[in-house]
Amino acid sequence: MTDDLEDQVRATLRQKAAEVRVPSGDAGLDAIHRKLASAPAAPARRTRGPWLVAAAAAVVVAIVGGSLVARNDDDRDRTVVAGGGDPVAGGEAAVVDAVWPSDDPEILRGISAAWARDPSPLPAVRLYLQDRLDTTPSDEHLVVDGDTVTVTEETDVVVHLGRLDGEIWFVERATSGLLDVDVDFDGERVTGGVVPGSSGTLEISYEADDGGAGGTVPAQAEVVVPIDYSMPASDSVVTRVKLLADVGTVALDERRLAAPDGAPVPDAPIVDAVGVWPKGIDEISASDLTDPVGTAARYIEETVGASNGIVLSDFRQGDSNSGEVEVTGDLVATIAVRQVGGSWHVEAVHTPLVEARGDIPGELWLHANQEGVLSVTVLDRWGTVVRSMPSRRMGEGEEVVVVEAEPVHKPFSVRYRFEPSVGNPPGIGDVAVAGTVSQQNTGVEPEAHDVPAEALYAGGGLDPIGTAQGYIEDRLGFWPDDMQLSPEHASETIQTVDWSGGSVTMVRHDGYWYVIESFGPVVKIESVDLPRVQLEVGEPGSVHVQALDAEGNVCAETFVDVDGGGPLSVDLGHIPCDPASIVAVLNETIAERQPS
């Protein structure tokens, strides 16, 4: 079967490739020469589609294209020098495409320390790692391959180097397989993310012409973290993203990024802390927001989609610059709108089905006024989804904390939809919360009471699926949305939930569900005889085994790369705690059990 599929894939790819009709002759070569001739000035592009290609080109040329590269932004009075030190394009200042120790060729040439001209890159790399990560790996943990040096222990970094004048070392960039740093599609931000299984803390800093800044944000696998700075105002920015992974690994990505020309700029007001719509990515013209009811209608159209069956009331004036529009019919909501500078925007949206409470700055609770299903999305001011909570069933009177006060950095908003079980049509809400955002705390908060001894995870919940989702998010860093109750293992006191990554079994204690066992289809804990753990694995990948204490802290762990399935014996070595559970993670599946 596998061979058949591989043959099908091979045949499909070859067929598709053969169908590509590349224009004959030198049309492509002419296009390349036109691009070369038109550089450094990149053509201004105002539409999003073509700009994507321009952005890709700018990043590729700046990041991938070797250590000394002319970027597509040379009309910004910045010229990158080639290996011999001569400018490759006109401009006022000549710089090296370096992130360390300097981008000034004269400063580099003035370095007299031995490491700068050492035949080996290792002394320079050791200094760089000491400077950036406060670590000095020994030579045996540094692998040199041409212009790159890979750190092989504790730190996940590949350092890419260049040599000015063919002799002076500098660091062009640092990359990590755990991190994914990129220019966002709107061209005004850099985004950072971590690969699955590598949740932790991102330390972000950057050095821009308008001053350096940064921050520390929690990192979740596959959640894009916006790294805001004024790209258009800076011709080139050194961006440094350091991941302090929960598992103890440190990863670093550092690179110089240039803002492409022609990033689209919305002419409608972008709502910040004072409202919820339009946001940065909404391509709304100010001419669409000249009246309050039209603005409310456009909001419905943009956020809900079809407006058939939805009735908007006349505008109900509040103060001189604000008021409300009532939504009835197939949707229940009140849209509060405000006028600023001649344009209207949506300040907030409320539904009587759900009460939003944010008594503490940065915190938001949603309280269900009747039984139903709640879906929540947390958006930053640009409209990037920084958190989503798909389809949670809530009982009447039940509350859920969507975000909990935790100082991070930017205003955000919470957009939700509530589908009542009976009676009313769905209600929508959109609430701005200024100042902080949490991407972590989303589970139902149980009242304080005893956690059963057999629980693997102290977070109990009223709903078994929600409890299992919270458990997986805590352990794996993402929110699984394909969980369903297993009909074969269901009772008043025990419930199993199946999902694409395995099964989670829970017991009910004082009305709350607690996880007591988890196993995945490709990783299973057969036995535990500490410090040895016997596993059965079913696919290639990197198996991550941890010993957790009763509070969920990691007290010992190891990684083992496996090329195939079968039994696997893992030695956790010294375990400086009395472990409450053993966790094995392979790719995106998890097995966990208490030591016997």
Partner: protein, 154 residues
């Protein structure tokens, strides 16, 4: 020394004639759009041209630039799709099932599968091109094939 002055134009043109079409096809398999594929490949050639003096293996350099630019483009497309989910076209799904499913794979899985089954590259070379470890390549291919199998057996 200016990169442009040391470019051996004949060598660059020879590289173009030998590799332009194959690279457009490779990029097409990774991005699924011929116009975008050509644009990305042309940009990769621009990068090679500028670094001709330093590129000891221009052909390998070119392929790395193409793969990276396709991955970068793919990540952006993923972000856009997350924000603006497009409904699937049922007619297209029926017409070319495997290709359609391939287009839904995450960019790294898709790149790994294309490099393995179209370019016939060994795992270590794929890992070097994608900037990841060999087990990660194997995992990406395994999971990509698993998704393809699951979808076409539906």
């Amino acid at each position: 020394m200016m990169a442009a002055t040391v470019v051996e134009e004949d060598g660059f043109v020879a590289l173009y004639r030998e590799r332009y079409d194959p690279m457009v096809r490779l990029a097409y398999l990774m991005v699924g759009d011929r116009a975008v594929a050509e644009e990305l490949v042309q940009d990769a050639f621009v990068a090679v041209h500028r670094n001709w003096a330093r590129a000891t293996q221009p052909s390998a350099y070119l392929r790395t630039a193409v793969v990276n630019s396709c991955n970068s483009w793919g990540r952006r497309q993923t972000l856009e799709r997350l924000r603006r989910p497009a409904p699937p076209d049922p007619d297209v799904l029926v017409a070319d099932e495997l290709w359609d499913v391939l287009e839904t794979l995450p960019s790294r899985q898709r790149a790994a599968i294309v490099l393995r089954f179209y370019e016939d590259l060994p795992d270590d070379q794929i890992a070097a091109l994608l900037g990841c470890r060999v087990p990660t390549v194997r995992t990406a291919i395994f999971r990509g094939l698993a998704k393809l199998r699951k979808e076409i057996e539906r």
